[in-house]
Amino acid sequence: MLKNYFKTGLRNISKHKLFSFLNIIGLSIGMSVTLLIIVVLENASNFDDFQKNKESIYRVYTEETNPDGKMSWAITFPELTNQLELNESIEKITKINSSFRGALDYKAKELNFNGYFADSNFFNVFSYEFISGNPKTALMDPYKIILSEETAHKIFGNKDPFGETLNTKFGDFTVSGVIKEPDGNSHLSFGVLGSYSTLSTLRNKNLLNKEEWNWEAKNPEYIYLVIDNKNDISIVRDQLSIIAKQIEPLVEDVTLSFDLQNMDDIVLGKQMAGSIGPTFAFLESMIFLSLTLMILLPACFNYINLSIARSLGRGKEIGIRKILGGNKKQLVLQFIIETFILSLFALIGSMLIVYLIKDEFITLLASGSRLQIIDISFTGYLLGILLALVTALLAGIIPAVYFSKQNPLESLASKVKPGTFGALSLRKGLVVIQFALSIGFLIGISAFVKQYSHALNFEMGFPKENILVTHLADVNFNIFNNEFQSQPGVKSVSFSSTIPGSWDNSTTVVRHLDSDDSLEVQEISVDEKFLEEFDINLIKGNGFNSEMSGNNGFAIVNQQFEKSFGRFNSNSDNKNYFITESGRTAKIIGVVEDFNKTPLQKESKPILIWFNPDKYRYAFVTLESDNVYDLRNKLKKVWAGLSSMNFEAKFLEHYLEEAYNSFENAIKVLGLQGVFVMVISCLGLLGMVVFSTNNRIKEIGIRKVLGASEGKLIWLLSKSFLSLLLISTAIGVPISYFIFDRMLSRMRYEYVGIGLFEILASVSILFIAGGSVILWQTKKIASINPVENLRSE
């Protein structure tokens, strides 16, 4: 019986080409996004599977509690290992540092590399196969380097590199081993491993800062443990809590605690700052997966719609099957199988779409490094087939039940009109839902675009053009200032602790010396030229002068600070003094205009400006407006004379744009989904128009013979569909306005609102797209020669 169903299904698909084409395209698009998420999640769940100890490997992570809330960090203190090594519950322990990157030099060959400093226990914890070298000793001594097979091949070709010397900015390294590429994805992705003892040597030589419980530096250090007995996990956790208590006095401003994360949860678990490798927030992915239904369902609606619309053509077959003894269940099964076959074709289409969009989409979905290897594995294919089955059920069940309920005699006599059994209202309802969804996406996209461009063009209170921003890294700011300020084309140089308009944010709480009222403020440390360079005008009092450098007794505030702080009761002698939560007392010497220290998503807070060179992390170099890119290249050379680190300078505008990356991503995701939903809806509409106008060919012929003009006939055929678009608009506009207005106003401090223009533009796009589809088909039918129309009887 099943064979018979498959055969009939296949023959029906090939016989009704328009129907099959519209549905396969629609379902391909509808299934593609769901399939992509499934494939990505499936890939993510297989990460690190090749690690033999995977189940018993744990990463130590850090929970930071600051005034803004809690934050999880994948990084931690390498010093923890000294205490953890004494814990008998821990079988093995290793630490890595992810700053081993730059260029490898070998006999005039240069290759950029990414890797880790790893200690000699690395291969006790992780499973990698050695091609040459000894896993026990390869990372023991300083300045040893292990290459991945690929890296070794790139530099040395087929030659065994063992014992060769490679130059890096960290010094000369001797190759102590080559390892095979692992069989599968790993969150640890590296081309080289340097011995961790190198870092210790560099620190001892004072070439790197000593790191003793310095959380502010946030060094990329990671610790992995092997705990064989699950019952021992709590023992290790207890020890970590004790350590956290012990270090409390050593860490300023924040409270830290430590916890363990199983290797299984690294890629597909909790989102953490400072993670290595890609991470997927499981919950977000699940929400996203359910959102994909917004695309899959309209495609299923098309199928339902078109299947019922062509029921007239299938009446005979249904009637015969029923007369010959086919029961309802058998007919339902037959139609579900037929839909399943169609979904399998659509699955192939959706796989093609997945290949086309996966890279772009994965970047949006996966934070951290870009996930390069996404393959559809055997399980992926099985899941794909499962998806086709689910789609077949979603799309097929309504038509199947509809067909199976038909009276055999009426079916046989083709008396079943597609308008009976409330089917017409169902079909109209589905089209309305599709287009209401489309208008929802259109309004959402236009609202996001409006907000995005508003954010980019927002007057931040300081100039954004031609300011080159660079991290100071290991360069002293005075040396930087002397070298850069003297370069031709450089207008001015200044320094600060954070980049204005970026997410980088530090806050404190201040109060008057004689009052308990407190105010939460944002802090920034700048030099004496910063306010001038950023065109932030002093309204009252004085700016900093060089003599005040490093003196925490003076501060400048913005107008918002002055206004909020001024409201508190205070003795007039103390009015200009405040005390911070860390007990520092300072005098306000000046007030500047308000400016936005953080992106618009964050509510602007009062700003407190210090003059503290110890905190400088960024240099701002304002360039003459001509040839800024040439100038940047010249400055790169100046930098090379100061530091071994890369010159990672970007223009301030780019930093500001980056602050709105999430926005850009939202627009891309919404845009892609919107295009998909729109295409699916138009395909569905086309199908519906085709089937219903074909049913009216005779009527059109008679009307034409009786003198109706083509225009009138087009209007006659189109008006019911246009009214569906109108109803969709009437439903979709208020609902989507409500949803996106609430969503954006919650997210944005500087919310601009959804205007009439956005709504009109969205409605116009909908009507242009939908209207063209309707016009194209109705014009075709209305222009047929009436003689041919009547002959079709």
Partner: protein, 229 residues
């Protein structure tokens, strides 16, 4: 085998009420070949549909194989139908997407015959209908006569007790019409009861009894020997 008692059927549309059958009383015994005749709209097809368990009467009784079936649900009728009845239609009603073999096989599939049994039976019946050489063709590749032979093959493949034929020769030329009638006659001779609706007096005479309908009433019933009286 078949007995109706005061059986009536009414069709009600929004404004019009049409009596298709009015107190019909007929009886058909196993092994008979009964022709039903009458002008268009007299209720022939309605009677055949009810007798063939495709529809229910509004009033009266209908005994089919000793079951009173007038109140049966579609599911109950379907079960009785697939086990006991074969149909032949004027417009053949073959499924265009299925080959000759698959069309004939269909009733056996619904009766859950095994694959080998189906194959055997289909081949036997196609041989009998002399259409074996077209076994892999699709209906639209066959002539009208050939299509009707396939339809007859499908009707008899499950070995039904009775065949209902609705104008089986209506779409055929006279030579093909004769061919089909000869087939039905030989099936009847082999023991199958046949009830056939026809417009043609000539083909009606192939039966051993003719029931004349007019405006939903049975007006006359002639046995074969009375035909030319």
């Amino acid at each position: 085998m078949i007995k109706t008692e005061n059986m009536s059927k009414l069709y009600v549309t929004e404004e019009v009420e049409t009596t298709a059958l009015n107190n019909v009383n007929i009886q058909i015994e196993a092994g008979e070949f009964v022709s039903i005749m009458g002008p268009s709209g007299c209720g022939k097809s309605t009677l055949l549909n009810i007798l063939g368990l495709l529809d229910n009467p509004n009033s009266g009784k209908y005994h089919f194989l000793d079951n009173e079936v007038s109140g049966y649900s579609e599911r109950q009728r379907a079960t009785l139908r697939k086990e006991n009845i074969g149909f032949v239609f004027q417009s053949f009603n073959l499924i265009d997407e299925l080959t000759v073999f698959e069309n004939v096989e269909l009733p056996l599939l619904y009766l859950k015959f095994t694959s080998s049994e189906r194959k055997k039976r289909v081949h036997e019946v196609l041989e009998k209908m002399n259409i074996m050489h077209r076994v892999s063709h699709f209906p639209q590749q066959l002539s009208g006569g050939q299509q009707q032979r396939v339809a007859v093959a499908r009707a008899i493949v499950s070995d039904p007790k009775i065949i209902f034929a609705d104008e089986p020769t209506g779409n055929l030329d006279s030579s093909h019409g004769d061919e089909v009638m000869n087939m039905l006659t030989s099936l009847n001779k082999a023991g199958t009861t046949i009830v056939m609706v026809t417009h043609s007096p000539t083909y009606a005479e192939y039966g051993n009894r003719i029931i004349h309908l007019f405006d939903g009433h049975v007006v006359t019933e002639n046995m074969k020997e009375e035909f030319h009286v």
